[in-house]
């Protein structure tokens, strides 16, 4: 019944030998764990290319999701199971810089700073903790067929707030089930991106240069009051519903992202639409501001293969790779400035608008408490849209809340 002592020794020796082999194997090769948000079909070819060029490095790729990725990354850090290299949304990055869990990439920053956009979120206390990879702005989507039906000129999308309001109203009056404009509501991470476009365009902001909270300034209030004027002609819904409505030709305009270009091409090939810059307050005032988000690459301090991780980050960030990714994904553009003059991006009239928009787009403040701050802004806009309170009080409260959140993150 019992295995003999000899047999057990043989087994033990075999196990030891196996372990030794595995160890030796591991010491020769650096295994870089890379967490990111792209479909593996999009990212894997680039990683394979990197592995072919760097035979001593193995890359293990995992895919996260935007809705729960932040929690997963934070949980992984808490448990010490974080990857070596990680993709982060630019609004998430400052918290990680603040907590001191990221590798200092200032030397890379100094070498690359002039050739890339979107560094703002990576900088904290004068050091750089992330590398811009790809970026995307939100632009105004316009349904040309509805414009025609409403007696509007489809070749002349709204340039100013007044024109946007008039167009929304005319389309909204076409009948039940058709809406002039789309306003995000009732979900995380989205609402403030759309509203802040109007606030920024009007010269408003969350903080001024000295770091004082100016969220309740007249410029922001005016933007919110204008946003409310759009409400009667707007469909107020979650992003996926707005996108679905636009796709099925029942939404005149909405501010949305480049992911729709790809989706509409596949799912609604006959949809007659164009894109335009987000309108500015008036012809002689303000700017075509919009929200721009970047996807940043960071290396965690605890990584055992920092050099390999940084090498992979720089490989992915380099223009040929970032361009391949952007084209395959169809929803973003390289953070490399070279994209601004690349005919592959500027020839398509819709894509060109996205590139153009990114020149006047804004990023959110690089503050470690931003995740909570954006919730305060969301709440102010939602409360006003639902008519709970006057916009002024909503913004005052949001400003106060942002102030309190900021106070919880003392400079280290």
């Amino acid at each position: 019944m019992m295995p003999s002592r000899g047999a057990r020794l043989v087994v033990a020796a075999a196990v030891l030998a196996l372990v030794a082999c595995a160890k030796k194997d591991a010491s020769d090769r650096a295994v870089v764990h890379f967490w990111q948000f792209w479909d593996l079909a999009v990212i894997q070819p680039l990683v394979d290319e990197f592995e072919a060029q760097n035979p001593e490095v193995d890359v293990v790729v995992e895919q996260l999701t935007w809705a729960t990725g932040l929690e997963k990354i934070q949980a992984a850090l808490a448990s010490g199971t974080q990857p070596d290299l990680c993709e982060l949304g630019s609004t998430w990055l400052p918290r990680f810089s603040y907590e001191g869990v990221l590798e200092d990439l200032t030397t890379v920053y100094e070498a690359e700073r002039d050739s890339f956009l979107m560094w703002e979120s990576a900088l904290w206390n004068g050091r750089a903790y992330g590398l811009p990879w790809v970026q995307g702005s939100r632009v105004l989507f316009v349904n040309r067929a509805l414009f025609r039906r409403a007696g509007l000129d489809p070749d002349r999308p709204p340039q100013t707030w007044d024109e946007l309001l008039t167009a929304s109203q005319k389309i909204g009056e076409l009948g039940t089930g058709i809406y002039g404009f789309g306003q995000n509501i009732g979900e995380r991470y989205v609402l403030y991106k759309k509203f802040m476009a109007f606030a920024w365009g009007n010269g408003g902001d969350v903080f001024d240069e000295s770091g004082t909270v100016v969220l309740n300034s007249p410029a922001v209030l005016e933007a919110l009051e204008f946003y409310l004027k759009l409400a009667p002609f707007s469909l107020q819904e979650k992003q996926e519903v707005l996108d679905q409505y636009f796709k099925t030709g029942r939404l005149g305009m909405q501010v949305s992202g480049a992911w729709n270009l790809k989706n509409y091409k596949l799912e609604a090939p006959d949809l007659d639409y164009s894109v335009a810059l987000v309108p500015k307050p008036s012809a002689d005032h303000g700017s075509h501001a919009s929200f721009a988000g970047a996807e940043m690459l960071v290396v965690f301090k605890a990584s055992k293969h920092k050099d390999a991780a940084v090498a992979l980050a720089r490989f992915l960030q380099a223009y040929p790779q970032a361009k391949k990714l952007s084209i395959a994904a169809g929803s973003v553009f390289p953070a490399d400035r070279a994209a601004m003059n690349d005919s592959d991006f500027t020839n398509d009239p819709r894509v060109r608008v996205f590139v153009e928009q990114s020149l006047t787009s804004r990023t959110t403040p690089a503050h470690p408490g931003w995740i909570e701050m954006e919730e305060a802004i969301d709440r102010a806009v939602e409360e006003s849209l639902y008519g709970r309170r006057a916009p002024r009080w909503c913004l005052d409260d949001a400003a106060k809340e942002v102030q309190e959140i900021a106070a919880r993150f003392p400079k280290k």
Binding site: E71, Q244, E382
Partner: protein
């Protein structure tokens, strides 16, 4: 071999697996959770952990987001549990006696309760959306559509209706099963005395089902207090916090805001409240006999 085994009495061996799992994955976390409640613990900065005494407990009283989550959760429990139980009783009554295709009816009623909450929540997120099935159905009746989940007045009721839809069939089958143990002679006697449907239910079915109803109430109360996946998938607590629930708040506090200490306090609040509610539910329908049955999902 046999002598070895007798070092411990067999009972100890029988209880060992349970005791080990219970100690490691229940008692220990439970006590740990209690300790965490007195700490300021940020998992990204464990070195900065501080003892804060009862500060986390005191925060509970001034925290309006917690109060909102508490109110929503109590509304959810108070709104769904009685409706589900009453509807399940009604269905069980409909299933009484010999009717054709009874098996088909039972299977169809039971079906939603085997689906995962994630599937159900995703389905209803679109079902309630403008352009979704419900609004299209209403449009056919000439009723204007509505963003059920984006209106703070209807978001929570819409999720509650979904919960009743998903749970009622299961409890109906449980109550129907319990009802089969009521002797037919009682119904025959009621019929002889000329009792109508309602009187039969009132004087025969209901009193004899009381233990089973207590079981359904308690189990459903515990389950409803933990409502989480539904809101995470469908509304993430919005709009305007109208669907924020205690467990979602616990999750956000721990895993988004990284405030593990305060999250533990919230966890204990959930524990106490669901205990109190279950005891109240049990008291109302208390009976001598313990009821057996399967627990819901």
């Amino acid at each position: 071999m046999a002598t070895r085994r007798l070092v411990l009495p067999p009972v100890a061996w029988f209880l060992l697996p349970w005791a080990a799992v219970y100690a490691a994955f229940f008692v220990f976390p439970f006590v740990f959770s209690f300790v965490l409640a007195f700490l300021d613990y940020n998992p990204l900065n464990v070195a900065g952990t501080r003892f804060v005494g009862t500060e986390n407990f005191a925060r509970l009283f001034g925290d309006s987001a917690f109060h909102g989550a508490l109110r929503n959760t109590v509304l959810f429990v108070a709104g769904t549990v009685p409706v589900t139980t009453a509807a399940a009783l009604g269905l069980a009554a409909l299933l009484r006696g010999a009717i054709p295709m009874k098996g088909v009816f039972k299977a169809a009623l039971f079906l939603p309760s085997i689906l995962s909450v994630v599937v159900i929540s995703l389905l209803f997120k679109l079902f309630y959306a403008p352009g979704g099935a419900l609004n299209e159905f209403l449009a056919r009746l000439g009723i204007e559509g509505h963003g059920w989940l984006t209106d703070p007045r209807t978001a929570l009721p819409a999720i509650m209706a979904m919960d009743v839809w998903a749970a009622v069939g299961y409890y109906a089958i449980v109550l129907d099963a319990a009802r089969t143990s009521i002797p037919d002679s009682l119904y025959e006697a009621a019929e002889l005395e000329g009792a109508g449907t309602w009187a039969t239910f009132r004087h025969v079915t209901f009193p004899l089902l009381k233990p089973a109803i207590a079981f359904v109430l308690v189990i459903n109360t515990i389950r409803s207090f933990q409502v989480f996946v539904e809101v995470l998938v469908m509304t993430q607590g919005g709009p305007l916090g109208s669907t924020n629930t205690l467990v979602l708040y616990l999750y956000d506090t721990a895993f988004r805001r990284l405030d593990y200490g305060y999250a533990s306090v919230v966890a204990y609040a959930v524990f106490l409240l669901s205990g109190i509610f279950s005891i109240v539910a049990m008291r109302r329908f208390r009976s001598e006999t313990a009821v057996e049955g399967a627990r819901p999902l």
